[in-house]
Symmetry: C2
Subunit: 206 residues, 2 copies
Amino acid sequence: MKHLPHKTIERLSQYRRALLLCHAKGMTHIYSHEIAKIQHITAVQVRRDIMLIGYTGTLRKGYNVKELIDLIGQIIDSVEGINVCVAGIGNLGRAITNYFSGKRTKLSIVAVFDVDKSKIGKKYHGIECYAIEEMARVIKDKKIEIGIITVPAEDAPAISEMMVKAKIKGILNYTPKPVNVPSEVYLEEYDMITSLEKVAFFVKTD
Amino acid sequence: MKHLPHKTIERLSQYRRALLLCHAKGMTHIYSHEIAKIQHITAVQVRRDIMLIGYTGTLRKGYNVKELIDLIGQIIDSVEGINVCVAGIGNLGRAITNYFSGKRTKLSIVAVFDVDKSKIGKKYHGIECYAIEEMARVIKDKKIEIGIITVPAEDAPAISEMMVKAKIKGILNYTPKPVNVPSEVYLEEYDMITSLEKVAFFVKTD
DNA sequence: TTAACAATGTGAAATAATTAACATTTTTCT
DNA sequence: AGAAAAATGTTAATTATTTCACATTGTTAA
Ligand SMILES: NC(=O)c1ccc[n+]([C@@H]2O[C@H](COP(=O)([O-])OP(=O)(O)OC[C@H]3O[C@@H](n4cnc5c(N)ncnc54)[C@H](O)[C@@H]3O)[C@@H](O)[C@H]2O)c1
Ligand SMILES: NC(=O)c1ccc[n+]([C@@H]2O[C@H](COP(=O)([O-])OP(=O)(O)OC[C@H]3O[C@@H](n4cnc5c(N)ncnc54)[C@H](O)[C@@H]3O)[C@@H](O)[C@H]2O)c1
C-alpha cells in the first residue's frame, strides 16, 4: 500500500463517517454494496478502495465494521493526533468551530484567531480566541499543524503567509481568494460558489 | 463544445472569479500563465479549458478579460437566472445566505426554510424565512430550481425528499448525511471534515 | 529585414481513476 | 452431495484528465 489516490483518501474518510454510524447502530458487518448505496457509488469502487488499504473482508459476511473503522483510522489519522487552528471567527469560522468540535478524536481545534478586540480572550465552544499577532507563538506552543482560513477574502494571503512562517504543515482555505504556499505546505481550497455554480450548470436547460 | 469535463466546469467558475477581480482592477488582458499562477495550476491546463469552450485569445496579448468573463457566463449561467433556497437557517445556513447574497447575478437565494417558530417570518439578509411545511408551495411559486441543505444531519434525507417531491432540479447537501435522489436530480455533497481529514493525511508524518 | 522571443492552440502521450469481467469461495437449498 | 446464489478480490479494459511537445504566429529589437 504505497500511494493511495487522492480520491481514495476522500472516500475513506466518507466510508468511516458512514461506518461510525453503522457501528453506533450495532451493526457488526457490512457489504461493499451497502457502503456503495450510502455513498452513491459502485460496490466495485468500494471493494477496490478497501483492497488498496490491504483489508480483506469475509466472504458472504462482508467487512467487519469495527475493524474497518480502525484500519481507516490507521491510514488517515496520525497516532498522536493533529492540532488545528481557525483564523477569523466570524460567521463561517464559528460555524466550523462548532461543527468540528469533538467530531474526530484525532483532530482538535485548539485555538482560534481574530483581529476584533471584542472577540479576543473570549471562548468559542470552549476554545480560546487569541489576537492574530500571537499566531506564531500559539502555533508553536500548542503544536498546531493545520490552519483553517475564514477571514475576509482580502486578508487571506497575509494570514496564509503568517501560517507558513509559523511552520504550519497544511492549510484549508475557505475564502474565495487563492493563496500561495511553498510546496512543502499542503493546501486545500474550497469555494461554495464553485459548487453552487456547478450544480447550476448541470441543472440549466438553455 | 459538446461535453465539458466536470473538472473543467469547476475551473471555469474559478477562472471567472479571478477574472472578475482582474476586471475590477482595470486589466483588459490576461495570459494563461497568469491565470494559472492564481489558481495553482499549469498554463496548459488553462489554455486547454479555454480551448474547450471555443474561445481564442490574441497571440502575445493573451485573453480579453471581459470577453472571457462573458463567455464563461454563457457557459455556466442560465439566461434567465436560477433561484435557490436554503433549508435550515442555523449557523451554516446563515453564513451561506450571507456569503452568497449578491455574489452572482444569475444565482439568487430567494427563500430560506426552517422549523423553528422564532425564525419563521423573519428575514435573513433580506430573504424571508418560511415554515418547512410551505416548501413545496414556495418552490413552485418562486420557481426555485436548486436547494441547499443545512439542517441537522439526521433531517437531511427527509428534506431532500421534500425537495425532490417539489420538483427541484439540483441539491447541494452540506450535511454529513448522504441523501438519495432520483437520477434526474443533480446532487452535490460536501463535508468539511473530509477536506480536513484529507489535509491531515497529507500532513502526517507517521 | 530578419532572428529571437513569447505567447496561443492542439494532437498525441502519459497518468489517474473507474468500471467490467470473472475466478474464487462460502453458504444455502434441494 | 451437488447445484445455485451471493459475496469478495483482482486483473484487465476503459474512460477521464492532465501533461508533453511542438507548430504557429505576432512582436520586438538588432
Ligand atoms: N459565510 C460563508 O458561508 C462563507 C462561505 C464560503 C466562504 N466564505 C468566506 O469566508 C470568509 C469569512 O466569511 P464570514 O461570513 O465568516 O465573514 P465574517 O465577516 O463574519 O468573519 C470574518 C472574521 O474575520 C475577522 N478578521 C478580519 N480580519 C482579520 C485578520 N486580518 N486576522 C484575523 N481575523 C480577521 C473578523 O473580525 C471576523 O470575525 C470570507 O472570506 C468569505 O468570503 C464564507
Ligand atoms: N457548521 C458548519 O460549519 C457545518 C459544516 C459542515 C456541515 N454542517 C452541517 O450542516 C448542518 C447544519 O449545521 P449548523 O451548524 O448550521 O446547525 P444549526 O443547529 O445551527 O442549524 C440547524 C438549523 O436547522 C433547523 N432545522 C432543524 N430541523 C429542521 C427541519 N426538519 N427542517 C428545516 N429546518 C430544520 C434548526 O431550527 C436550525 O435553525 C448540520 O447537519 C451540520 O452537520 C455544518
